[in-house]
């Protein structure tokens, strides 16, 4: 519920931008009417969203597609260097991985261009904003999580290119990284819970331990990590969670857990969370693959 409200808030902010632009276009319309220009000219004079908006929405911190691409290519270099550092790659292996990574980049930018076409078609129509947003948001989520995750061509190529020994070494450091990142996200979720519902030090520590032991990382890390943690917490047996809180705290915690439940389906549809069984593979080391 809260997440939906946040999404609506974000939409509202963007629409506010449109509303702020409105006086200018309204002014143009008024002038056009005064000057007796035809209706077609008035439509042309009403840009609701500028072309730059599209890049800013998709590439956020990077600001535009060019910077976005540069950043993604740097990430590919860093990923390949890491594997080389851990596994000692041959030149052939390096080339294969680079090629695979470029495939992921191309696939992503193809989708960006598809979304851009839709944007171009509807950018003058504020009422169709929802339509374009449905295409932009998955791109944002994907970019935020990184293009070279589990389902990427790069990752699949890593599995088929590395020797069994190399793969084992690489999987080990990947598991460590995911575990360390997920631990940070769990601690963050508990600290955020603690903001609104002050917990004792012992309660915080026990809750973190429970969540580390009994929940799984998201398929993609990003801005929904908090919900991924709490949705899983809501699914834990009451006998494990309830004893950590006193009666009044438990009532407040239940309110919060109920609020997050509604997000689960959306997160699954958008590839942030896996199904319960699928999530389990995320935390376990991948079996090494033969070269």
């Amino acid at each position: 519920m809260i997440a939906r409200r946040r999404m609506l808030l974000r939409l509202r902010r963007l629409l506010l931008g449109a509303v702020l632009l409105a006086p200018f276009s309204c002014g143009a319309v008024a002038r056009a009417q005064e000057e007796g220009e035809d209706e077609a000219a008035m439509v042309v004079a009403q840009p609701v969203f500028a072309d730059e908006n599209f890049d800013q929405w998709v590439f956020q911190n990077q600001g535009n597609a060019q910077n976005g691409r540069k950043r993604i290519e740097q990430m590919l270099t860093l990923r390949t260097e890491e594997i080389d550092r851990v596994c000692g790659l041959s030149e052939g292996q390096k080339k294969k991985l680079q090629l695979a990574g470029r495939g992921d980049i191309k696939r992503f930018f193809d989708r960006v261009e598809d979304a851009r076409k839709i944007f171009q078609a509807v950018k003058h129509d504020q009422n169709k904003f929802q339509e374009i947003w449905q295409h932009i948001q998955p791109l944002q989520t994907e970019l935020s999580a990184g293009l070279f995750g589990e389902s990427s061509i790069f990752r699949k190529t890593v599995r088929t290119t590395l020797s069994a020994e190399q793969a084992a070494s690489y999987d080990k450091i990947q598991q460590e990284r995911r575990a360390s990142l997920y631990r940070a996200k769990i601690e963050l979720a508990v600290a955020m819970l603690d903001n609104g519902l002050p917990l004792h030090d012992e309660q915080r520590r026990k809750l973190v331990e429970l969540l580390v032991a009994d929940t799984k990382p998201p398929k993609r890390f990003g801005q929904y990590d908090y919900y991924v943690v709490l949705i899983q917490m809501a699914k834990l047996p009451e006998g494990k969670v309830k004893p950590l809180f006193d009666a009044a705290q438990w009532r407040a915690v239940q309110q919060q857990l109920n609020n997050t439940r509604g997000m689960e389906q959306w997160l699954k549809q958008n590839g942030v969370m896996g199904d319960d069984a699928e999530g389990a593979t995320d935390t376990k080391p991948q079996p090494p693959k033969a070269e």
Binding site: I2, Q60, N61, Q62, G63, K70, R71, Q74, M75, T77, L78, R79, E81, E82, R85, S144, A145, G146, I173, E176, R177, S180, L181, R183, A184, K185, E187, L188, V190, A191, M192, L193, D194, N195, G196, L197, P198, H200, D201, E202, Q203, R204, F221, G222, Q223, D225, Y226, D246, A247, A248, Q249, R251, A252, Q255, Q256, N259
Partner: protein, 299 residues
């Protein structure tokens, strides 16, 4: 202008839980003295389950000051949010210290004053930011509402409860602050790892370097809630020495300071959670988190 200021003070005070009579005393004109007395009398009546008697509220609330209208609008904006924060903290005091009802009433009255101080500090900050005197993300001097409220309540706990109860509360406050710093540090390093693909050794080195030069402005937990959209403003000299050449290139090109001040209240995700305000005896209000603890006798 002055009239507007007075009206705003009245509006703000009326929306707060501080005794309505106190606020009206300042805002209402002389000819409404009769109504004012009635309002005072009304405020003095015990209200249902409200555990704070009017005299306790009045004791805690000093005379109203005239408020800059520019600040008054922010006061209205923050008031409700911080009241929620105080409610949570008072609830925490109940579970940690197990005060008697009378003791709790005195501490709760301090909470009202703490809300006022916090809101005022925030409103002042907002004003400075609007005038360009403070820049979000570049300084650690932003008021921390939890700290202000915690300190005010700790003072009141110390004054109203036994030394052992006060020490117990202070201990929890210290542990909470340490935990928040630890969580922020953990998440700063995790964020850098996502961006720079660090080795385990680099993660460790960075954690040590950042901890040694920790700046509270990096500790706004909300920074880490929104994926990679926001970054704490960490100086190059702490990060660069740990990085490889390629990583340094990425770091230098990263858009780091997003200039966001989140307000630090951090209620965000917990909005809507309601605490029972009605007084319940400790046994019902909170089953003991640590067994064998009993409510302590008043001083």
């Amino acid at each position: 202008m002055k009239r507007i200021a007075v009206v705003l003070v009245a509006c703000v005070a009326a929306t707060s839980s501080i005794g309505a009579g106190q606020a009206l005393k300042k805002a209402a004109p002389q000819k409404e003295a009769g109504e004012k007395k009635a309002a005072d009398a009304e405020a003095a009546k015990p209200k249902g389950d409200d555990p704070k008697p009017a005299e306790a509220r009045a004791e805690a609330a000093p005379a109203e000051e005239e408020v800059d209208p520019n600040i008054a609008q922010f006061i209205q904006q923050y008031q409700q949010q911080f009241q929620q924060l105080v409610k949570g903290e008072l609830f925490f005091v109940r579970t940690i210290c197990r005060p008697t009802k009378e003791q709790y009433q005195r501490i709760a009255a301090t909470g009202d004053q703490a809300v006022k101080e916090t809101v005022k500090a925030f409103a002042e900050t907002q004003k400075k930011m609007m005038r360009g005197m403070m820049v979000a993300g570049q300084q650690s001097t932003f008021p921390d509402p939890r700290k202000i409220i915690g300190e005010a309540l700790a003072k009141s706990v110390k004054a109203n409860l036994s030394a052992e109860q006060a020490a117990r509360y202070q201990d929890e406050l210290d542990k909470r602050a340490a935990n928040r710093k630890r969580v922020a540090l953990l998440n700063v390093v995790a964020r850098l790892d996502q961006d720079l693909v660090l080795t385990a050794q680099q993660r460790e080195k960075l954690a040590t370097a950042l901890e040694a030069k920790w700046d509270d402005s990096w500790g706004q937990l909300e920074l880490f809630q929104y994926g990679d959209q926001f970054q704490p403003n960490i100086p190059d000299n702490l990060v660069i020495p740990v990085l490889t050449e390629t990583q340094q290139g990425v770091w230098r090109g990263a858009n780091r300071n997003r200039g966001v001040f989140w307000g630090g209240a951090g209620l965000g995700f917990m909005h809507g959670v309601q605490f029972e305000e009605a007084w319940e005896e400790p046994a019902q209000a909170a089953e003991p988190a640590k067994p064998n603890e009993k409510p302590e006798e008043p001083k």
